[in-house]
């Protein structure tokens, strides 16, 4: 009597209506993915998503640049060889050289550290403040929700770059201040997503079932609500990371980051503006690095989102 599941000759289990529906929508039924060890499953998953693999590798590569730039570019990012000024890309200088004869590749690799640290700090600021607000709003609801909701409205009403600029006006310039400014701009999004997720899980039947079986609220929060809300927030972290790379580079491009000659991606491109007509590589190649990082972060975010949907 226990085996209510039936197995078709093809080996696909269909137990009931919801399974049939899920087969029509997503292909294989539940349990199907759980065949084989974890590593083999992950391997199959990635094999079918070459774009995701490339995106992951790009992010790993720039993280490695940030951690150990000298391994990837042994030259000096600050002082150049005046004789080698404005050389186009070649085998010797992959990204060419700038007006002081500095190797652009070296500067891009060495700039990764500062750019990524600023970006990461911005995301952390947005994540911590935003999800704390969203968690409070979604779990406590009532007037807390109203207050947070209004605050999010107000933050959304000012375009994030103008918000960042206002903060920079008050705080002054520099990478840490840029990070705070960009992070504040991301607070609203994190708060919104976290609130929606917490609301979704905390009104779900299994949370009510936990409450009905006598679990206390903090145990419901810690054991059910938070773990089940984490997925979309994680996807948002990846997405906002891409967004923060764009925002940080835009603010450094405008000149609010580190003063030259310290290499940083946005200011690197800004420095190439004066040679737009003659030395295309000064702007285009570092720009493409930024695009690659943002594209990769967005791709990873999408993958995280869809794995969340499967659950």
């Amino acid at each position: 009597m226990t085996a209510t599941t039936t197995r078709t000759p093809d080996g696909i289990e269909i137990a009931d209506r919801e399974d049939a529906r899920s087969i029509l929508r997503h292909g294989r039924a539940r349990g199907a993915g759980s065949a084989g060890p974890w590593a083999a499953r992950a391997g199959r998953y990635l094999l079918r998503r070459p774009g995701l693999v490339v995106a992951g590798l790009v992010l790993l590569l720039v993280a490695a640049w940030a951690a150990a730039p000298a391994v990837f570019a042994s030259g000096d990012p600050i002082t150049g060889v005046p004789a080698d000024r404005l050389l186009p890309p070649s085998a010797e200088h992959l990204f060419g050289t700038d007006h002081l004869g500095r190797d652009v590749w070296t500067r891009v690799v060495h700039g990764a550290s500062l750019s990524l640290r600023t970006t990461a700090l911005a995301v952390v600021v947005g994540l911590v403040v935003g999800s704390a607000l969203g968690l409070l709003a979604g779990f406590l609801r009532g007037w807390v929700d109203d207050v947070v909701g209004r605050a999010v409205d107000v933050l959304l009403a000012v375009p994030s770059i103008l918000l960042s600029l206002a903060i920079i006006t008050a705080l002054g310039t520099g990478p840490t201040k840029i990070a705070v400014a960009v992070g504040v701009g991301a607070v609203a999004t994190f708060a919104r997503v976290m609130r929606a997720e917490v609301l979704r899980t905390s009104t779900s039947v299994y949370v009510e079932a936990a409450r009905a079986s006598g679990a206390r609220w903090w145990s419901v929060l810690g054991r059910h609500v938070l773990p089940n809300s984490a997925g979309p927030v994680l996807a948002l972290v990846a997405l906002e990371f891409g967004g923060a790379v764009l925002a940080v580079s835009a603010l450094s491009f405008l000149g609010y980051g580190t003063p030259p000659p310290t290499p940083e991606w946005g200011s690197l491109i800004s420095g190439g503006r004066d040679y737009l007509a003659t030395a295309w590589w000064l702007t285009t190649l570092p720009g493409l690095v930024i695009v690659a990082v943002v594209l990769s972060a967005n791709r990873v975010a999408r993958a995280l989102e869809t794995t969340g949907e499967d659950q």
Binding site: A157, V158, T169, G172, F253, L295
Partner: protein
């Protein structure tokens, strides 16, 4: 209906007031001394003659209690008076008003480009029979959102102005000078719209009512444009407010890249010189634009979606 409009307008006014208040306290209460900023010392009090500081404090009313200053500023803002610029001494409000028309022109053209282009791209990435073509087209929006605005601008400048000499590189003269900045500004929000719309369109195409339409014998175009697109447009429509805000923000970078006169350039100059009254005016203006846009979206919403007889609440818009 009138009551509903009044309530939404009141909510809008609240957002406007709160945005102004937050911006005021951020700009006036954070570490730098506004008088030192006005003296042009970059906020370093020590390097400025104390007498000059006192003089400036008196001139800008900074010697009064903060709440009095705030009440004064709020009262002024209602009359569109944001006080004199620290930099030029001209009224901040009129500086903004002077810069506004050029930026409105730029963002207006860019908005039209973004909406038309984004919608066309979203439809084109779902419509064609060829699976290959659909895949190529649907790969475009993610690339578009990953492009930094300044990078788009610089690349366009490089190839279309400097290399091909097709269009002027800088300035505000004539429609030719508008083309590149408008395209630059339109690409990221257009791609964002295309992403949201094509995702929504794909979701809509799996809805049971689309199957009903197919079971009637409806052809591809009728199903996808007649039934699916209108439903899919609903979530995309709600992002219009964010889109317009994004365009204003993008104008900051775009006008800098193309050396255009406008609100964006004014903002950058004011931030560079820490010209607090002008920055406050710009922030207040952008909040006003957002509030008005969302109000219009809210009021038009029932026309698009008959299920919403009284337009969505604040939360429905934010979600």
């Amino acid at each position: 209906m009138a009551r509903y409009v009044a309530r939404r307008a009141a909510q809008g006014l609240f957002v406007l007031w709160a945005a102004f208040t937050i911006a005021f306290f951020v700009l006036y209460l954070l570490p730098s001394d506004p008088a030192a900023l006005a003296a042009g010392s970059g906020g370093e009090v020590a390097s400025v003659d104390p007498a000059l500081l006192d003089d400036l404090r008196a001139r800008y009313g900074l010697d009064r209690p903060v709440l009095v200053q705030y009440a004064d500023a709020l009262g002024g803002a209602v009359r569109l008076d944001f006080g004199p610029s620290y930099q030029s001494g001209a009224p901040a409000g009129s500086l903004v008003a002077q810069a506004l028309p050029q930026t409105l022109l730029l963002t207006g053209v860019a908005l039209a480009l973004a909406v038309l282009g984004g919608t066309a791209l979203a439809v084109a990435s779902v419509l064609p029979r060829s699976r290959w073509l659909r895949q190529v087209l649907s790969a475009l929006p993610p690339v578009g959102v990953a492009l930094p605005t300044f990078f788009i601008g610089l690349v366009l400048l490089q190839w279309l102005s400097f290399r091909a000499g097709l269009l002027p590189a800088i300035g505000n003269a004539g429609w030719q000078s508008l083309v590149l900045p408008a395209v630059t500004l339109a690409i990221p929000p257009g791609a964002q719209l295309a992403q949201v719309l094509s995702r929504s369109l794909r979701g809509t195409l799996g809805e049971p009512y689309v199957e009903t339409a197919r079971a009637k014998g409806a052809g591809r175009l009728r199903v996808q444009l007649g039934h699916a697109l209108r439903n899919a447009a609903i979530p995309a429509f709600t992002m219009l407010g964010v889109l317009v805000g994004g365009l204003l923000g993008g104008a900051v970078v775009t006008e800098t890249v193309f050396s255009r006169v406008g609100l964006g350039r004014l903002t950058v100059q004011s931030v560079n010189t820490q010209d607090v009254p002008v920055v406050l005016a710009v922030v207040a203006l952008s909040a006003l634009v957002f509030v008005v846009t969302t109000l219009v979206v809210d009021l038009l919403y029932p026309l698009l979606d008959p299920r919403i007889e009284r337009a969505p609440t604040r939360k429905a818009v934010a979600a």
